[in-house]
């Protein structure tokens, strides 16, 4: 059974150590307190990053182990809603679980976008367990250069 032992990452950066400790503690609470730190619907929520440039808003979500058909994406009142369900796949001859840190079930995240976007032309790609969404900004949200003539 000593397959389950592992080294904690060795690092000299105390803040990274704290970060790892925080993750470990978060993991402790997951499962025992469903919904704690997450939505009402489930015990897990995908990690999100948001950026923007002049033309677009970009959203990236970590959704490892899903199929793209299981991911729902919708846009309403400039709020992007990401939802779906990650199912635990039962494989033939997989045996009994001796360690389970992965979380399964439904998730939902609502993202209030930092600028008005045009719902036409939203692009989403799912690759290597990451969902990347590109949302073009509405014309009125784009910065405009105004020519002022000075006499």
């Amino acid at each position: 059974m000593n397959i389950i032992r592992y080294h904690k990452p060795e690092t000299w950066n105390p803040f990274d150590r704290l970060e790892n400790l925080r993750e470990e503690v978060n993991r402790l609470f997951e499962g025992s307190l469903p919904g704690w730190g997450g939505g009402l619907l489930s015990g897990w929520n995908p990690t999100l990053d948001i950026t923007e440039d002049k033309e677009n808003v970009y959203v990236k979500a970590e959704l490892p182990g899903m199929k793209k058909e299981e991911i729902d994406l919708s846009l309403h009142d400039n709020v992007l809603t990401l939802s779906g369900e990650r199912r635990q796949e039962k494989r033939e001859g997989e045996g009994k679980a001796i360690r389970e840190e992965r979380v399964f079930g439904r998730f939902q995240r609502n993202v209030a976008l930092p600028a008005p976007v045009n719902s036409e032309g939203v692009k989403a790609v799912y690759r290597d367990g990451l969902l990347t969404v590109e949302l073009p900004k509405a014309e009125e949200a784009k910065p405009k250069q105004i020519e002022v003539n000075i006499d």
Binding site: G65, E100, D128
Partner: protein, 122 residues
């Protein structure tokens, strides 16, 4: 920290790693590990076995999002996790694959340790 005290390479000690979540299943034939490594593809995955230690390294290949950051939850670091292998595992037959950010490892048990039915003779 476990009783394992093998010294790590100093170069990697200064680097920060994310610890991927794992699920481990055990059957009569062996162990099955599934690790979550979003952003890692086949080229970025390194699995090594040395002295009954299994090291799984995942180098993220996803590019940073363009533009200015508005909100960030992810950590832009690679993944690493080390397991001590039970001596019953046949390290020559370990298999690894990656799909949708999930690394799946098969660790078969050596034939000699599998349960066997012994025929009873008079």
């Amino acid at each position: 920290m476990s009783t394992l005290t093998k010294s790590e390479k100093p170069a990697s000690d200064t680097q920060a790693w994310a610890v991927p979540r794992v699920a481990i299943h055990e059957s009569a034939d062996g162990y099955c590990l599934n690790l979550e490594m979003p952003g890692v593809n086949k080229e970025g995955l390194e699995v090594t076995v040395e002295n009954h230690e299994l090291t799984i390294l995942g180098h993220r290949s996803d590019p940073n999002l363009p533009g200015e950051p508005v909100y960030r939850e992810s950590r832009p670091v690679d993944y690493r996790r080390v397991f001590e292998l039970d001596p019953s595992i046949d390290t020559g037959r370990i298999t690894a694959r990656i799909e949708h950010g999930i690394v799946s490892l098969g660790l078969p048990k050596a034939e000699s340790v599998k349960p066997r039915k012994i025929a009873v003779t008079e």
